[in-house]
């Protein structure tokens, strides 16, 4: 029995810095949203929007996903993380690269600093993929969740490679196709390849654990994996060789069908769950999938409409509705447990110790949730009716949400154990 894997958690440095830095980038993202309120409904290829999108995609979403993935990989692969040092190196490179990219996009400085920053992000993504591949390769078990993670890492590398080529193309033009068309392919490889497949893989593992639920319909996950990848490959190939038109939404339908299969698996798990009470954090995550569904419905609109506000609304559903919603919901389902495991594991049963939930201000979560809903709704209204003033107010709401979230994240990270000798003896 000795070789049964319980949990060989990675070192703190391979996980915690990602969560802390992501919380800081979320605050930066919300400040940028406030500062650029009048630009949000404009064309997506303008400096503030490019800076905002890359803060959201790299500093916020990818940063926190790397941290969560390094923690969860040993659980999914039943093996220790291949290298804690490489994980930390990927953190350093991602942080430096993201800071440089945000600065360059904001000032639209497409010189060497941009190319160096892009190279740092590229190296970080390759290190992540290598670490993931080595960890999964050592594993003697193969689960569909592992395939989701491996394919999402491939798409991340593809996205960062195309992104770097696009950055170089702005300095030394060499891509024979329209820059904006390739930018769309780069964006969708990131959204449907990296974020969607990573979230599907991790969600298929974590959600049943949180709900104490089980589904026997694993084939739905395989169907999701195949449909999402076939749809994305067709989208990229079609988009590269032909002009981007409404026809391409057919490939989006395949990706949407794949995601529907995944959602059916989650619904089946939900119906067979032991924990009947669903807390606010799970509702946070549940709401995020509604935003993802809305984003899918908007794909034909952004392909045919020349109005830039629809692309802004689509991006809002993706980054602030879906990805932010799921991160706000899942952070306090993972981070407190990671910190608790480090601080209290050895004291379990020896003394009266706090539970992971007590490491953060649980009372702030409803405020965070309802403020988030308010910010998202007012942002959508502000975009549809192109109301800059409303978008500025929304920016303030987003800043409050990010501060509440950041406060709780750092409260958990800097939690100190206050258990004395007397507590242990008594």
């Amino acid at each position: 029995m000795a070789d049964i894997f319980v949990n060989k958690a990675p070192k703190e440095l391979a996980v915690i810095p990602f969560y802390g830095t992501a919380a800081l980038f979320f605050i930066v993202l919300c400040i940028l949203l406030f500062m650029s309120a009048s630009e949000i409904t404009g064309h997506y290829f303008n400096p503030p929007i490019l800076a905002i999108v890359h803060t959201a995609a790299l500093g916020w979403a990818t940063m926190v996903i790397f941290g969560a993935a390094y923690q969860l990989l040993p659980v999914i692969c039943e093996r220790e993380l291949f290298s804690n040092h490489l994980a930390f190196l990927s953190y350093i490179l991602l942080t430096i690269g993201t800071c440089g990219m945000i600065w360059c996009f904001w000032r639209f400085d497409m010189e060497w600093l941009m190319i160096i920053s892009g190279t740092c992000v590229l190296c970080s993504s390759y290190l992540y993929a290598f670490n993931l591949y080595q960890t999964a390769n050592d594993s003697n078990k193969s689960q569909v969740q592992q395939h989701f993670l491996l394919l999402s890492a491939f798409w991340l590398c593809f996205t960062t490679t195309v992104g770097l080529l696009l950055a170089i193309n702005l300095r030394y033009t060499f891509i024979p196709r329209n820059h904006l068309d390739i930018l769309k392919l780069h964006a969708h490889a990131g959204i449907a390849g990296w974020f969607l497949q990573l979230i599907c893989g991790v969600g298929a593992k974590l959600i049943p654990m949180f709900l104490l639920g089980k589904s026997k319909r694993t084939w739905l996950l395989y169907a999701a994996l195949i449909l999402q990848n076939v749809g994305l490959i067709l989208f990229l190939a079609d988009g590269y060789f032909n002009p981007v038109t409404l026809r391409m939404s057919m490939h989006g339908v395949l990706v949407a069908l794949g995601t529907a299969c995944w959602l059916l698996y989650i619904i089946d798990t939900y119906r067979h769950r032991a924990r009947k009470k669903v807390d606010l954090l799970m509702k946070h995550a549940g709401f995020s999938f509604l935003c993802l569904s809305l984003a899918f419905m908007f794909i034909p609109v952004i392909l045919v409409s020349s109005e830039t506000k629809w692309a802004a609304l689509y991006g809002t559903f993706i980054f602030l509705g879906w990805i932010t919603g799921i991160i706000l919901g899942k952070t306090f389902k993972t981070l407190p447990f990671i910190v608790w495991n480090k601080r209290y594991k050895n004291l379990n049963g020896k003394a009266k110790i706090p539970m992971p939930k007590q490491l953060y201000h649980e009372r702030l979560i409803p405020y965070q949730y309802y403020l988030y809903l308010g910010a998202l709704l007012s942002m959508c209204i502000g975009i549809v009716f192109e109301q800059s003033f409303l978008l500025q107010i929304t920016g303030i709401l987003w800043i409050i949400v990010s501060l509440l979230y950041g406060y709780n994240v750092f409260r958990v990270i800097f939690h100190k154990t206050n258990i004395g000798y007397e507590d242990i003896v008594n």
Binding site: I76, M209, Y344
Partner: protein, 108 residues
């Protein structure tokens, strides 16, 4: 975990059961006995206690902390014995393993 009163180690098993109730699953906030994670405690070896148990999810990230908790409380209750844990996945844990008290706490 079933305790037979005719068993020669019934008293020790009851004492162990009471001690194991102090080990809480940090995610579910219910003790591991009421969750039905403990399948048996073996006192036949004079210097060793062998606990046969499972986890609610294979590869549970909190599994290490739960195991440590089991070792801590049994070492406290039986200082002269070494604690060994046999983690098993068969029979697989299900919600049917949860006691009435555990169900009440989980709101089932």
């Amino acid at each position: 975990m079933k305790i037979s009163l005719t068993n020669e180690f019934a008293q020790e098993e009851m004492q162990a059961n009471l001690a194991l109730m102090q080990v809480i699953d940090p995610e579910l906030n219910v003790n591991i006995v009421d969750l039905g994670l403990v399948y048996g405690v073996d006192f036949r070896h004079p210097q060793v206690i062998t606990v046969t148990m499972t986890l609610s999810t294979p590869h549970c990230p909190m599994g290490d902390a739960i195991e440590q908790g089991v070792i801590n409380v049994l070492h406290e209750a039986f200082p002269n014995r070494e604690v060994k844990i046999e983690l098993v996945w068969e029979p697989e844990w299900s919600i049917d393993n949860i006691s009435e008290a555990g169900r009440e706490q989980l709101g089932l």
